[in-house]
Structure formats: C-alpha cells, structure tokens
C-alpha cells in the first residue's frame, strides 16, 4: 500500500498535543528561522526542529525528502551569491561588459537560506507526521476557517488513493492490451501515457457531480457554520506551555539579532 498522508501513527507527546498549539509552534519555527542569516546560527534552529522530529519518532519516514533537500542545498549555495553581495571577494568572472563577483559572505548567506528552508521543512513534516487530517480540520474549524473550505481540503485526502488506484487499473488494462507504458524513450512513454488521462479525468468529473449530490443529501452546512464534531481536540497545560515557549523563543531570537546583532552575515538582508 502506498502512503498518501504524512501522518505516522505513533503515540508520542507531540501526537497528543492540540493541533492548534502545534500550528503556533510551526509558525514560530518559521519565524525563528528568519531571525539569523549566519549558517551556523541557523543550523542551531534546524537542529531544534530535528530534535522535535526525534521526539515525534517519525524522522525515519522522511527519507523520501532527502534528495530534494540535498539539491536545495546545492542550488541555494550556488544561486544566492549572484543576488546578495557582501565585501570579501573570493572570485570574479570577467565578462565583456560587466564583472560578476562572488563574495565570501554571500556564499555563506546562501548556505544560511538553505538551512532556513531545512528548518522550516523539517518542522512542517513533523507537524503533519503528528497531526491527523481529521484533527486538523477540527482545529481549523475552531480557528474560524469556513467549514466548506476545510471540507474541500480534507476530501482531497480521501480521493487521492482512489484516483491513484484507478490510474493503476487503467494502466494495467492498457498493458493487458499490449500498450507498453514502461519501455521506450521519454517522449514515447509520454505519448503512450497521454490517453490514460482521459478515463481518469472523465471518471473524476463524473464523480465530482455525484459527490455534490451525496454531500448535500447528508445535510451539508445544514446549520450554517454551526455543527458538531465527533473527534474532539483538547487544549491542555502542555499546549499552553508549548505556545508560550515558542513565542518567547521567537522574541528572544529576534532580540539577539536586531538589537544585539548576533548571527548575521549580511546585516542589510533578512
């Protein structure tokens, strides 16, 4: 069975927290990450999110992200020097009309941005690994997000596996008729795969119309925004503590940077 959600079914302290407090924590990690632009300082934030990952016992499930993260690191280190400029020139390209310089600070800035994204992505993965979509939808409802929108988002998670299964069946049905979808050049593969989209598209469209009827038939939005939930989320002391600590840390990190000037490579940039 292919996994379609990031949720990892464990019972850790992070799993038991209220999605709302985890949401605040997540936003705070993003804010922490934006405080510094010295790679060593930012990696400290990254290490904190990895720490949460260890606590959630779900780190091993994130293996799929590793290639993306490595390429992000290389891309960031290579690209940023062209857009952000520091003082210590380490290399210069002499072109006919202009000269492009690469500075020591800007390379490190690039690495810092990569670390920032690492911290943000890790924290987001931890959030989704420890929060069920069902609980999240209750939390979002309590945060006054319109239920129609929440319903739409959660319904997607229900239908991804179905569509994936159908796509597989369609592929097999074609293969059984001799249409080879696995061999050939990339262009040939794409050419063979294109017709598969039609049945998937048509069944999905047909289904969307029927889905609306079924949802309405069950009294959707009968009481406007007023409704009850079978799953409950509970806000406890641990939640309050997490929120206070997260916000306090955010203030502290930004105080370190903006007032005391720690952890900066290029002070003029975020």
């Amino acid at each position: 069975m292919v996994q379609f959600t990031l949720y990892v079914d464990k019972n850790t302290f992070l799993h038991r927290l209220d999605p709302r407090s985890k949401l605040v924590w997540l936003v705070c990690v993003w804010i922490w990450a934006l405080a510094f632009n010295n790679p060593i300082w930012v990696s400290f934030i990254f290490i904190i999110s990895v720490g949460f990952g260890l606590l959630s016992k779900s780190l091993s499930k994130f293996g799929f992200a590793i290639y993306g993260l490595i390429s992000l690191f290389i891309m960031s280190a290579l690209m940023w020097p062209f857009f952000r400029h520091g003082e210590t020139i380490i290399y210069a390209f002499y072109l006919p009309f202009t000269t492009i310089t690469v500075e020591y600070e800007s390379v490190l800035y690039g690495l810092a941005v990569a670390m920032r994204l690492y911290a943000m992505i890790t924290a987001s993965l931890v959030f989704f690994a420890t929060t069920r979509i069902e609980d999240l939808s209750v939390a979002l409802y309590k945060l006054k997000i319109p239920y129609g929108l929440i319903f739409g988002i959660t319904t997607i998670f229900r239908f991804i596996p179905t569509m994936y299964g159908e796509a597989q069946l369609i592929t097999l049905a074609q293969e059984a008729r001799g249409v080879d979808l696995r061999r050939g050049s990339l262009i040939e593969k794409a050419k063979n795969a294109a017709p598969m989209i039609t049945p998937l598209f048509v069944t999905t469209l047909r289904r969307a119309g029927e889905l609306i009827m079924a949802v309405e038939s069950r009294g959707f939005l009968m009481g406007g925004e007023k409704r009850s939930f079978y799953y409950e989320i509970n806000f406890g002391i641990a939640d309050a503590l997490l929120i206070i600590l997260s916000i306090a840390a955010a203030i502290f990190f930004h105080y370190l940077r903006w007032v005391l000037g720690y952890g900066v490579m290029l002070p003029q940039y975020l």
Binding site: M1, I133, E134, T154, T155, F157, R158, F159, P161, T162, G165, E166, L169, I170, L172, A173, Q174, E175, A176, R177, G178, V179, D180, P195, M196, T198, P199, V202, T203, R207, A208, E210, L211, I212, M213, A214, V215, E216, S217, R218, G219, F220, L221, M222, G223, K226, R227, S228, F229, Y230, Y231, E232
Partner: protein, 566 residues
C-alpha cells in the same frame, strides 16, 4: 385518507434535463403514505434516478434542469422553497455509485458526517455510529480508512451513513447492486427491522425484482418517464409479457406460472411471487420428467489453465487466496462465484498476469504465467474490467478496438479486417465513429469487450460485466459470450447474478475466503443449499422452487416447462 398521512406527494411533475431532447419525467403524479414500502422498477433511462433525486430536493435546488413543472411536497414542504439541507434529514437517499458517496477518510467519520451536520452531541453521534455500523455488518471497522474497503463494504457504509441520520424516508437507488445475494438480502432485512421499530417509509429502485416483489407494498413501473403500471406486486407482476418486453425480469416463479397459464389454460388472474405461494399453487395433475444429465466430464479435454497451490496476499497479513488448485480446459464456459471479498477478482487477475501471486504456479497453455509479461499474457488471456470506463481511452469506437492491434504492429489491412470483424460480432457497426465515452453503459461494455476480442485471445475473462445493466442488456452480452465460446474460446465470467450462471454456464466454481468451496455443474452446485449459504450465495428462484417441489434441480424456467407432461 388525510393529507397528513402522505409523506411525499408529486403533482403532475415534468422534468427535462439540460441538453436532452425528451422529458425525463412526463407528468408524474404520485403519493407515498407514511410507513409504506414503494418499489420503483423500469428499464435504464426510464427516469427512476431522476425521480429519486427529486424527493430530497436535489432537483431543482442543486441539480439544475432545463424545465421543471409541477410540485413535489415532502412532509408538507414544497421542495422548491426549501433547501436540500432542510429536506435531507427527512429523506435519506443512497445512490448506486458508492465511490462518490464516501468522502471522508475513515469509516466512523463517514458515518458521523450526517449527525455532525445535525449538530448532535459527541455521545449521540457515537451511539448512532455504533448502531448503524452494527446494522450493516461493519462493526470492528470503525478506524479503517475508507479507501481500503472492498466494494461491498463501501456500499454498506453508504447505507450506514444515511441510516445514522435517522431519516423518515429512506430511498435506495440501486444501492445494493454490487452486493452479493446474501448481502442484498441483509440490507433489506436491516431496513425491514427498522421499519418495525419506527415508522419509516422505504422507496427502492432495484433490478432484482424477486426482492422488490417480496418487500414492497406497492410497485410503480416507469417507462420513458411515465408510470405505466401501479399497484400491488401481484397486480404489477401479472403483466409478465409487457415487463419482459421492457427488458425487466419478473420473479422466476411468476414467469413460470404465467407460461403455465398460457400453455395449460389454467385461467389464473394473478401469479405467485414467492416460492411458498408457487408450491401450493402448482397444479397437481402435472408430472415432471427428471432433468437432463450433465454434459460429459470436462477432465478429458486439453488444459488451458492449470493452477497449482496458488496463494496471494496484498498486505502480507491477510491471504486473499489460500491454496487454489484448479484446471480449466480449452473451450469451457465457467463462472467464478462467491461473496464480496472471496477472492474471485484476485484469482482472475492472477490468470491474466495483472497480479503475480505470492506463491504457487499458474500455467497458461503449458507456459508459466509468472514468467511472461502482462503484454505477452494479454495476447492469450483477455480481461474485461468491471468498469468499462477504465478500459476506454480512444476518441472513436474504431480506434479503441484497433488500439491493441496497433501495438502488435500488424499490417494496416489486417487491423482493419479484425476491427470490422469485431464490430460485426458485437453488432456495433453503426457506432464505429462515435466517442466511446458518450455511449450508454451497455454499449461501453460492448466496446470494452471488443477491444479485448480484437487481440484474439484464446481465454476471455469477464469481470462482473453485467453490473448496472438491465436483464435485457445482460442477456445480449451473455449471448455474445456464448457465440465466442462456440468459436472455441474459453470463457471465465465473474458474477453475482445466479440466474445467469444457471442458464449460461456449464461449470461454476464457488470461492469462499480465498479457497475453492465447490466446483462442478451449476445443477449440482445450486442443489447444495447449506454450503451455499455459508458462501453467501442464493441459488436462482426457479432452482430453489424445483428442489422443493421435485428434489430435482432445474436451471431455467424454460427447462422446467420443457420437462412437464400432463
């Protein structure tokens, strides 16, 4: 009759869907009393589903139609002036396609959706989940992801979700079409039980008229948007000839007595609907010759498929197949039957190579199937999927049938010859230039069969090819299979329609829990009632009737009549 007793009233309703030339409903007037059970029957396109979604206000509030005339009154409310969400707690509609009715991630949340909308407390919701899952045999699956359920389980879940809202009227629009016979029976039993406890009104659309005849207080027959017959099951089913002409299939004992009446001039006004009635009404002066002996043993022939100790698991925990041993000979016409989840489709897909079994050996014409690619095997074993939509990818019927042949890199004139042949065999020459997606289901099914046929496989597997088709359409697909069988093709059909197994096949294999429970001629299989009950299978009505009457098993109404003498 006071106004209050009528929970639903339709007054001269005319409906025309967008982009269609003819009206879907033409002046329907109908009242449904509180606590009544109403059966709605009729051929495909008669307007049954349109009528159903009219009852909870989906038409005209959500589904926009070109023309809507007349009035629909539900519990005193004009549906035009009330929102669907106001009507839904009164009229619960269960649709045929379960896949789109199940839209939440796990089972208990699915059932909770209606009660949540009603704004019930957590305890009340929990209570309703418990009872409706119990009623539909789904207890224990509360936390299961909905996409992991089998088709039959999804269909039961769709019904459970509506039951949880405790509506006053339950509308089942072919809501049991994918269930095994016992599963169907259980659903109706659930509703009957409910009706005893509470005053529930039931409206059901179903192609299985035995069931409708048994349960309904009143039946209306729709044809081309008009009510052609209305009355008690006895009244309605006295029009046997007319119903058959519409493509419907009245209960077999009813058909039998209608034919007896004609042949022996019994002068009957109405015909029995149930086996018990038929037993007591059967004329004493008629003698019955024993049925013909079964065809000679099939062991003799050349083997087409040899299956040796095949096991399969999808998740590494539960076994879908547990040690299947089977030999199928060239030129056989056999049926794979069994309840939902018994392993029929898994077994059939392993023969075609779509699934590689976890353990065991499958030989197709002496060659090990697991060592062949799906493509190689596809030229020997054709597989027609249950849902034709998954198979159809081309813009015209012609291209669809030619698709597999182009892949084989055959010369152009050879492709043309084969496609023309297939079109002729299937009797779909006139639609060769049409887009398969816009055809009706029966024709889409034909094109799907055609696309497999063109490759000229020696073995053809039909996976529930008749779901959602009327008996008339079902017969035409089956007659096609008979033709192919006569040409020497080996045919394997997976089905829940037992009358079809009885009338068309020479061998039935009953699967239960991943094992072969029985293997033999339908005449012998359908006589073992106790074993069949364990496998959730109910033999055709005529077979149950003749067993009780004569201890012999007759497989069709005509076969029974042909063995009668005065």
């Amino acid at each position: 009759m006071s106004e209050e007793e009528n929970i639903i009233e339709l007054k001269n309703v005319w409906i025309k869907h967008r982009g269609q030339e003819d009206f879907a409903l033409k002046g329907i007037s109908l009242t449904v009393k509180k606590g009544e059970t109403l059966g709605i029957i009729g051929p495909t396109g008669a307007g049954k589903s349109t009528l159903c979604i009219l009852l909870n206000g989906l038409i005209p509030n959500i589904v926009r139609v070109e023309k809507f005339k007349g009035k629909v009154i539900v519990k005193g409310m004009n549906t035009k002036k009330h929102k669907v969400s106001e009507l839904a707690p009164i009229v619960g509609v269960v649709f045929q396609d379960y896949e789109s009715q199940i839209f939440r991630t796990n089972v208990e949340l699915e059932v909770a959706f209606g009660p949540e909308n009603l704004g019930l407390t957590r305890e009340e919701i929990e209570d309703r989940i418990k009872t409706s899952l119990h009623w539909t045999r789904l207890t224990g699956l509360e936390k299961r992801y909905t996409h992991e359920l089998s088709g039959g389980q999804k269909q039961r879940l769709a019904i459970a979700s509506i039951l949880a809202m405790e509506p006053e009227v339950i509308v089942l629009d072919e809501a049991t079409s994918d269930l095994d016979p016992i599963g169907k029976y259980e659903i109706y039993k659930v509703v009957e039980e409910l009706m005893k406890k509470k005053e529930i009104t039931l409206i059901m659309v179903d192609h299985h008229l035995d069931r409708v005849a048994e349960i309904a207080d009143r039946i209306i027959v729709l044809n081309q948007g008009e009510i052609v017959y209305e009355g008690t099951p006895k009244d309605v089913f006295s029009h046997v000839d007319e119903l058959i002409k519409m493509g419907l299939r009245p209960p077999q004992v009813t058909e039998l007595f209608y034919k007896l009446d004609k042949k022996y001039n019994l002068g009957m006004k109405s015909y029995p609907l149930s086996i018990d009635e038929a037993l007591s009404a059967f004329p004493k002066n008629l003698k019955i010759r024993p049925p013909p002996a079964n065809n000679p043993d099939v062991e003799e022939g050349e083997p087409a498929i040899e299956i040796r100790d095949v096991w399969h698991t999808y998740d590494g925990v539960n076994w879908a197949l547990r040690g299947i041993n089977l030999r199928i000979n060239k030129g056989e016409f056999l049926a794979l039957i069994g309840n939902n989840g018994s392993g029929k489709t898994t077994l059939a897909m392993s023969i075609n190579g779509i699934i590689t079994p976890t353990k065991g050996s499958i030989k197709v014409f002496g060659e090990e199937a697991t060592r062949m690619t799906v493509k190689e095997l596809g030229q020997k074993v054709g597989y027609v999927f249950q849902n034709p939509d998954f198979q159809l990818v081309s813009n015209t019927v012609y291209d669809e049938i030619a698709l597999g042949l182009k892949q084989l890199k055959l010369p152009k004139d050879e492709i043309d010859r084969r496609v023309k042949d297939v079109l002729k065999t299937l009797n779909i020459e006139e639609i060769e230039k049409e887009d398969p997606f816009f055809l009706n289901k029966a024709n889409r099914q034909r094109v799907a069969v055609g696309s497999v046929l063109a490759i000229e496989p020696d073995i053809i597997i039909l996976d529930e090819p008749t779901t959602g088709l009327t008996p008339g359409e079902t017969r035409s697909i089956l007659n096609l299979a008979i033709e192919l069988n006569k040409e020497g093709k080996t045919i394997i059909i997976i089905t829940h329609d037992m009358w079809l197994v009885a009338e068309y096949t020479q061998r039935a294999i009953v699967l239960n829990n991943g094992q072969i429970l029985m293997d033999g001629h339908p005449r012998d299989i359908f006589a073992k009632l106790d074993l069949l009950r364990n496998a959730f299978i109910e033999p055709p009505q005529i077979s149950r009737f003749s067993l009780k009457l004569t201890k012999n098993n007759y497989l069709s109404v005509d076969e029974f009549i042909n063995h009668l003498e005065e």
